[in-house]
C-alpha cells in the first residue's frame, strides 16, 4: 500500500505562522506580541490566522513601544512564558536594542545560567523594493556580533518552519530574521524558490547547522537568505560554463557552522561570500577570516559580494545597483580566475 503524500508548498510567511500555531497548540506558555500582529496578522503575514485561533490574550497587539515590550518579553520569559515578539523591521532595533542586547542576550549569563530567557524575536530584513535606508537593512552582523543571542535566517519555507519550531523550543533567546523579498507577500515581490514543500507536522531544523543547497567542486558560495538565491542563480549560470559551484546556506549566523564552511572550501579551494548586509565589519569578513585563519589551502583570494558601506538609497537605479546579485558573484569568480 502506498500513501500519496500531498504536495504542499508554502511561503515563508505561512510556514512561520504554521510553526507558531503548532507550538501554541501544544504549549500554553507560547504567545505572540508586537505591532499589528493581531487581527492584521502581521504586516508581513507571519502571524496570519493566529489571532482568530488563539484570541487577543495570546496574540497581543502592542503600543509602538518596543523598549517596553522587548523588556516585557524578557520578564515574561524569565517567569516561565515563551514569548514570540516581533520587531516589525530590523531597522527599528535602535529604539529598543538595550532590552534586546543588555537584557535578553545577557541575563542568562549574568545569572550564571539560572535564568532562562526563551524569547523568539522575529524581525524582517532586506530591501530591493525601494523602502529606503530606514526600512531595507539586513543588519546581520549587528545582531550576530553580540554574544548571547542565537541568530537564524531562513532562505526558504521549509527551513523557516523548522527553524521557527526549533527557536520556540530553544531555552535561549533566538533572533529570527526573515527577508522581505523571500517572504511570499506578493506586494513585496517574491522569490519563487523560497516557496517550497513544507510538511504539515511539526519538525525542527537544527539551529547552528548550515546546509549545502547545491553541491559543487570548483568554488564555494556562502550566503544567507537572499544571498543563497543569488548564489544558486550564479551557480546555474556558472554550470553553463562548466564551473561547478557549491552553494552553502548558513541558515544560522549564531552559532556559525564554521565546520561546514571549511569543509566545503577545503573541497573547492575557492570562496565567495554573499551578503546583503553592509560590507565592512560584517558577515563577509567573518566567514573569510574563519576559513583563512585555519590555513585552509586556497586556489585564489577569497571574494565578497556585500552591500556597499552606504545608507540604502531609495531610488531604484541606485538601490538595485548596490544590491548583491548573481552577476556580481560571477564577476567575483572571474576576478578570482584572472589573478
Amino acid at each position: 500500500m502506498t500513501v500519496a503524500t500531498k504536495e504542499r508548498k508554502l511561503t515563508i510567511a505561512r510556514a512561520m505562522a504554521e510553526a507558531i500555531a503548532q507550538e501554541m497548540r501544544i504549549d500554553e506558555r507560547v504567545f505572540v506580541m508586537g505591532e499589528d500582529i493581531g487581527p492584521l496578522g502581521g504586516v508581513f503575514g507571519n502571524t496570519r490566522g493566529l489571532y482568530d485561533e488563539f484570541g487577543a490574550e495570546r496574540v497581543r497587539d502592542t503600543p509602538i513601544s518596543e523598549t517596553a515590550f522587548m523588556g516585557a518579553a524578557v520578564g515574561a520569559a524569565s517567569d516561565g512564558m515563551r514569548p514570540i515578539v516581533e520587531l516589525m523591521f530590523v531597522d527599528f532595533f535602535g529604539v529598543c536594542f538595550d532590552a534586546i542586547y543588555n537584557l535578553m542576550a545577557k541575563n542568562t549569563y549574568f545569572s550564571g545560567g539560572e535564568v532562562k530567557v526563551p524569547v523568539v524575536l522575529m524581525t524582517s530584513t532586506g530591501g530591493g523594493y525601494s523602502d529606503a535606508g530606514q526600512h531595507s537593512q539586513c543588519l546581520h552582523a549587528t545582531f550576530a556580533h553580540l554574544p548571547g543571542m542565537k541568530v537564524v535566517a531562513p532562505s526558504n519555507a521549509y527551513d523557516a518552519k523548522g527553524l521557527m519550531t526549533a527557536a520556540i523550543r530553544d531555552d535561549n533567546p533566538v533572533i529570527f530574521m526573515f527577508h522581505k523579498a523571500l517572504q511570499g507577500m506578493g506586494w513585496l515581490g517574491t522569490e519563487k524558490d523560497a516557496i517550497v514543500q513544507v510538511p504539515e507536522q511539526a519538525y525542527e531544523v537544527p539551529i547552528g547547522k548550515a546546509a549545502v543547497v547545491r553541491e559543487g567542486s570548483d568554488v564555494t558560495i556562502v550566503g544567507i537568505t537572499s544571498g543563497v538565491h543569488h548564489g544558486l542563480k550564479a551557480a546555474r549560470q556558472l554550470a553553463e560554463r562548466g564551473v561547478s559551484a557549491e552553494v552553502l546556506d548558513l541558515r544560522s549566523l549564531v552559532p556559525l557552522d564554521r565546520e561546514a564552511i571549511i569543509a566545503s572550501v577545503r573541497k573547492t579551494g575557492r570562496l565567495i561570500v554573499v551578503d546583503e548586509d553592509y560590507h565592512s565589519y560584517g558577515m563577509s569578513g567573518e566567514i573569510i577570516s574563519s576559513v583563512v585563519e585555519q590555513g585552509v589551502p586556497l586556489k585564489a583570494a577569497p571574494q565578497r559580494v556585500a552591500y556597499p558601506d552606504i545608507p540604502i538609497p531609495f531610488t531604484r537605479p541606485m538601490e538595485q545597483w548596490a544590491l548583491p546579485s548573481a552577476d556580481k558573484i560571477i564577476a567575483a569568480f572571474e576576478k578570482m580566475e584572472s589573478n
Binding site: E35, D36, G38, P39, L40, V43, D61, T62, P63, I64, S65, T67, D91, F92, G94, V95, G128, Y129, S130, D131, A132, G133, Q134, H135, G186, W187, L188, G189, P308, D309, I310, P311, P313, F314, T315, R316, P317, M318, E319, Q320, W321, A322
Partner: protein, 328 residues
C-alpha cells in the same frame, strides 16, 4: 487669535494643493502595479503613506511659521511639507527617485529634506522629536529667531522618545511645539488599544507644560491653538503640547486593505472631509465666490500638475551616485 481671510485662504490653498498632490501620487503609484500589486514596481516604488484628511493639522500650524522656523515630520509628511513651503517640484521628483529630487533620489517619500525651509522627516516613529528639540536649543543658544515644531502621530506618543523629548524641552525651556496628529490609528491598532489615556494633551502636565486639545479636525481652531503655542515659544516661555483630532482618509499605506476599520468609518470620515467644510465656511462667512473657488482649485491643480510633470520629466540619477554623499 482668529485667522484673517487672507490667512484662511492661504490655509485653504495649501489644503487643496496637498490633497491634489496626494490624489495624483495615489494614481501614479498604481501605475505599473497591476495586475499584481508589487510595491517595487512603477514610477513610484516603495511604501507610500498618504495624508489625505490630515491637511488641517499641517496648515493650521504652519500658517504661523516662517521658512526659518524648523519643522520635523514623520513617515506621513507630504501635507506638512507642503504647508511648510517645501519645494514641490523637487519633492515630487524625490518621490519619483529622480536626480532633481531634493536628495537626488536617495531619500524618497519618508526622507524629505529641504534645508531652505528647514523641513525634515524620518521614517522611525517619534524620532523627529529629538532633532526638533535640538534645533530649538540651537536657536536658544544662538539667540537667533525661530522656533521648532515636531509633528507626530498619536501612536508615536507612546514611544520613549516622546517622554524624553518633552522632558528635555521643558527642563531647558526650549522654543518648540509638539503637535500630535491623532488620526485614531497606528497602522491597524486603535488609539484606545495603545494609549492608556484618552487624550495625549493630558500628558503635558507630566512635563509642566501647557497641553491643548483641538477637536473636529478644524483648521481654524487649530490655527488658534497653534498660534498661541508658537507665540509662547517665540516669547521664550517654553514648549507646548498639542493634540489634534484628525482623520486619515486613506489606508495606513497604499495597499492597506483597511479591514481593521469598523463598518461605516470611512464613509463617516469622508462626510466630514475638512476641505469641503472649509470651502463652505469661506463661502458662508468670508464672501468667497464660486468663481474665485474655481480659479483657486484650478491654480492648485496646475501647481501640482507642474510638479508631477517636473518629476516625470526629470532623469534618474546614475546608479554609481549611490556612493556619493555618505560623507561631506
Amino acid at each position: 487669535m482668529k485667522p484673517s481671510k487672507e490667512q484662511q485662504l492661504w490655509m485653504y490653498e495649501q489644503m487643496l494643493v496637498s490633497r491634489y498632490f496626494e490624489e495624483s501620487i495615489e494614481k501614479i503609484y498604481m501605475e505599473g502595479k497591476s495586475p499584481a500589486f508589487n510595491m517595487a514596481n512603477g514610477p513610484i516604488p516603495g511604501e507610500m503613506h498618504l495624508s489625505n484628511g490630515q491637511e488641517p493639522c499641517a496648515v493650521g500650524v504652519c500658517a504661523h511659521l516662517e521658512p526659518s522656523d524648523i519643522v520635523t515630520s514623520t513617515h506621513r509628511p507630504h501635507h506638512v511639507a507642503i504647508a511648510k513651503g517645501v519645494d514641490l517640484d523637487r519633492m515630487a521628483a524625490e518621490i519619483f527617485g529622480k536626480k532633481t529630487g531634493l536628495s537626488g533620489g536617495r531619500g524618497g517619500h519618508m526622507h524629505i529634506f529641504d534645508p531652505k525651509v528647514n523641513f525634515s522627516c524620518s521614517g522611525i516613529i517619534a524620532q523627529g522629536m529629538g532633532p526638533a528639540v535640538g534645533a530649538a536649543l540651537s536657536r536658544q543658544m544662538q539667540r537667533k529667531a525661530g522656533i521648532a515644531v515636531a509633528f507626530l502621530g498619536e501612536g508615536a506618543a507612546n514611544q520613549g522618545a516622546f517622554h524624553e523629548s518633552l522632558n528635555l524641552a521643558a527642563v531647558w525651556k526650549l522654543p518648540v511645539v509638539f503637535v500630535i496628529e491623532d488620526n485614531a490609528w497606528g497602522i491597524s491598532v486603535a488609539k484606545s488599544a495603545s494609549t492608556a489615556i484618552e487624550r495625549n494633551d493630558q500628558r503635558a502636565a507630566a512635563y509642566g507644560m501647557p497641553g491643548h486639545f483641538v477637536p473636529g479636525n478644524d483648521p481654524l481652531a487649530i490655527y488658534e491653538v497653534a498660534g498661541e503655542a508658537i507665540q509662547r515659544a517665540r516669547r521664550g516661555e517654553g514648549p507646548t503640547l498639542i493634540e489634534i483630532e484628525t482623520y486619515r482618509l486613506a489606508g495606513h499605506f497604499m495597499g492597506d486593505a483597511e479591514g481593521y476599520r469598523p463598518q461605516g468609518e470611512k464613509d463617516a470620515l469622508f462626510a466630514r472631509d475638512p476641505i469641503p467644510k472649509l470651502r463652505e465656511h469661506l463661502k458662508a462667512s468670508e464672501g468667497w465666490s464660486d468663481a474665485e473657488d474655481a480659479a483657486l482649485v484650478e491654480r492648485s491643480r496646475a501647481r501640482v500638475d507642474a510638479a508631477i510633470a517636473f518629476a516625470r520629466d526629470s532623469a534618474y540619477p546614475d546608479p554609481e551616485e549611490a556612493l556619493d554623499k555618505v560623507f561631506v
